[in-house]
């Protein structure tokens, strides 16, 4: 029998650089490999010896799309190590800036990168020829998220205001007032967006994922929670290493993360949604039903709907936080370094972002370990690819290639993050 090799040499509309190799032998998928050739940048290595105060600025540079996720997991780990809890309005401001990152990152992916797949365009700019208002509205939505990042963080990419213990400077109430208007407009656009993307044609495709996300007693998880899974994991974030492991595979500069006892798992919007549906406010639950979603969604192509739902949530949550905001007396709580290990885990737009630092008595880092969302999803992406390709094996290479690329974009993969991470080739034997 012939071997067919289908390759996508450079995946488009993903953040970072990767490729895909699919080998079809004797009429079945022999292997599906997501190759990540993003060159390694060695963050965990050069963090050794750096001070705790500079850590949030350094780890932000892992990812230009979700710097707040890295900063928030880092400050949580630092505060955990030094025995300090940041609560009240400082905690609220952290959740608020994180809402900004969810809005800008999700809006970018849903409309600018993912929607063109469902409507048959190569990109959002060409899509704007027929769907000009949709694209302009998406840019308005994205801009509202970025406005939150800029007002609270100083700038949209690599914000400068987050520090261990809180912030360098906290805003007055009057500074947040102008954002309220853009967030209300953004919320209305996001509700329309949910209704629009729910009408897209979705392939019939479901997989039985083990979802992993944070879970909090009262909130839809963003900044903190216990680490839970759909198959019974329920642990403190400090115990991550007892349930999960990272493996180094030859075809990727991003480490593959796996559940030790079972293997691949899924993080990100589908996981957060399935494990925390009951934490969404009733009007948003009603919107999910209107959009045709149950309390769990196992079709990765429908992740676009869940992302749009999460934009609505982030807008509502940001508006709620602003209404309740009273400037705290101090911009940060005092910290005293000590020799200790600290753990941080927050919900980046693409899923949990887990950090561990071992500090020396002077607050310098002895050892750092950072597990980004996309490296955790790699094994699931490869499993999706194999399962998806199996349904279209009798089709020409072009069809297989297109379907595989779409399977990958379902994850909004951030390759820059994961290589501390893409290209599709199909081999038919």
């Amino acid at each position: 029998m012939a071997t067919r090799t289908i390759a996508v040499d450079l995946l488009a509309r993903v953040e970072g650089e990767g490729a895909l190799d699919l080998t079809i032998s004797d009429g079945r998928v022999a292997s599906a490999q997501l190759r990540i050739f993003e060159p390694p940048r060695f963050f965990e290595a050069f963090l050794r010896g750096r001070g705790y105060m500079e850590t949030p600025d350094l780890v932000a540079r892992i990812c230009g799309i979700c710097p707040i996720a890295y900063q928030m997991s880092a400050v949580q780990a630092i505060e955990n190590a030094f025995g300090v809890t940041v609560g009240g309005q400082l905690r609220a401001l952290r959740r608020l800036i994180y809402c900004g990152e969810w809005i800008e990152s999700h809006a970018l992916h849903v409309v600018m990168l993912h929607a063109p797949d469902f409507l048959g365009f190569p990109d959002a700019i060409r899509m704007a020829g027929q769907h000009g208002d949709r694209v302009r509205n998406a840019l308005t939505l994205k801009k509202a998220g970025n406005e939150l990042m800029r007002v609270l963080g100083g700038r949209e990419i690599h914000p400068v205001n987050v520090r261990p213990g809180g912030f360098y400077r906290v805003p007055g109430r009057a500074e947040l007032a102008p954002i309220t208007e853009s967030l209300k407009r953004a919320r209305d656009i996001a509700v329309d967006l949910v209704r629009w993307v729910a009408t897209f044609p979705f392939p019939e495709f479901e997989r039985d994922y083990e979802f992993v996300a944070l879970r909090h007693p009262t909130e839809y998880p963003i900044t903190e929670g216990r680490l839970v899974s759909s198959r019974g994991i329920d642990i403190n974030i400090a115990d991550y290493e007892s349930e999960f492991e990272e493996r180094h595979v030859a075809h990727s500069t991003a480490l593959h993360a796996l559940i030790k006892r079972r293997g691949a798992y899924l993080v990100g919007p589908l996981a957060r949604y399935a494990l925390n549906f009951d934490r969404l406010p009733a009007p948003i639950q009603a919107l999910t039903r209107e959009a045709g979603l149950g309390a769990v969604c196992n079709n990765p192509f429908r992740s676009i709907v869940v992302r749009a739902i999460e934009i609505v949530y982030a807008c509502e949550e940001a508006l709620r936080l602003i209404v309740a905001y009273e400037p705290p007396a101090s911009a940060a709580v005092p910290l005293a370094p000590r020799a200790a290990a600290g753990f941080g885990c927050t919900e980046a737009p693409r899923g949990i972002c887990w950090h561990r630092y071992d500090f020396a008595a002077d607050g310098s880092i002895g050892k750092a370990r950072i597990v980004p969302p996309t490296s955790q999803n790699q094994p699931s992406i490869e499993a999706d690819l194999a399962a998806m390709a199996a349904t279209v094996l009798d089709q020409p290479d072009e069809v297989i290639r297109e379907r595989c690329e779409r399977s990958i974009r379902n994850y909004d993969p951030c390759i820059s993050c994961s290589a501390h991470f893409f290209k599709l080739s199909v081999n038919r034997a």
Binding site: A12, R13, V14, E15, G16, E17, E38, P39, P40, R41, F42, F43, E44, A45, F46, R48, R50, G51, E54, D57, L58, R61, I62, C63, G64, I65, P67, E104, L108, M112, P122, D123, I125, A128, G132, V135, L139, T140, K142, K143, N146, G154, R155, E156, I157, H158, V160, N161, R163, Y168, R169, H248, V249, A250, T253, L255, A331, E405, S416, H420
Partner: protein, 256 residues
């Protein structure tokens, strides 16, 4: 269609933040796309049209042998080549490997070092091919990006100031944080960010790299007078622009 200037965006070792700045031009993006042909921008489009290109924007630093070949290919196809951000312009945060043994770095992160192919250094684009213009910053300022694209479309030099962050603090009326006792890299750092760190009541951390004539030694003495130790000064110069000559030299003056 074909008469519009053709733009290409390329990525090397980086965080994607600088090319994201182009998509972050929410107010200008569709206008920009009407006057230029975005011929190759893999992060935003499945269309990857072949060269030549009128303007190539390059993000990221050179860290693999393969990337040395790729940047030469990019240069050969590009009428103008502009680097965007500290990685492409100065080697980026990943240039911290230049001060260490890269094999120790690989062993610290990866279980199977034999799978990793990387150079011992991270170098700016200008170390490998001629560069027409360098946009500073980690990340770049999107207004500067729009200015550079507009300038190349109009065939003129970009109007971007090379003075220090101090001038921007004066322009926005921010009280100097150094005089309030906070060490700041603003006096030796290239303008472009609008002095956001001092506006947040913290010292500048130098993410735009050295200004045109930086007196780093004098600044280091001023830091010492504020109580900074040599390790603090060394680390301050060893971040996103550590491999630029003035910052490298100053960091080396403060111990191993």
């Amino acid at each position: 269609m074909s008469s519009r200037p053709r733009l290409a965006v390329w990525k090397f070792a980086s965080c994607d933040g600088c090319q994201l700045s182009l998509l972050d031009c929410e107010d200008e993006l569709l206008t920009l796309a009407s006057v230029i042909d975005i011929a190759n921008f893999p992060e935003a489009s499945s269309v990857m049209a072949e060269g030549p290109y009128d303007l190539s924007l390059v993000e990221g630093s050179i860290t693999t042998a393969c990337d040395i070949e790729r940047i030469r290919m990019v240069r050969a196809q590009s009428r103008h080549l502009v680097t965007i951000g500290a990685c492409a312009t100065a080697g980026g945060i990943q240039a911290l490997r230049n001060f260490a043994d890269v094999n120790h770095f690989i062993a610290a992160v990866y279980a199977s070092p034999q799978y990793i192919k990387t150079l011992t250094t991270s170098t700016p684009i200008s170390a490998h091919v001629p560069v027409d213009y360098e946009v500073r910053g980690c990340p770049i300022n999107k207004a500067q990006l729009v200015e550079v694209i507009a300038a190349y479309l109009a065939g003129r030099k970009p109007a971007i100031a090379a003075h220090s962050v101090c001038i921007e603090c004066k322009q926005r009326g921010t009280i100097c944080v150094m005089v309030q006792g906070t060490p700041c890299l603003g006096p030796v750092t290239h303008a472009g960010c609008s002095a956001i760190c001092p506006s947040m009541r913290r010292g500048c951390y130098g993410c735009y790299g050295p200004m045109e004539t930086p007196n780093t030694a004098a600044l280091a003495r001023a830091w010492q007078a504020l109580g900074a130790e040599s390790g603090d000064i060394k680390r301050a110069f060893r971040t996103f622009n550590a491999a630029t000559a003035p910052f490298q030299k100053e960091s080396e003056a403060h111990g191993d």
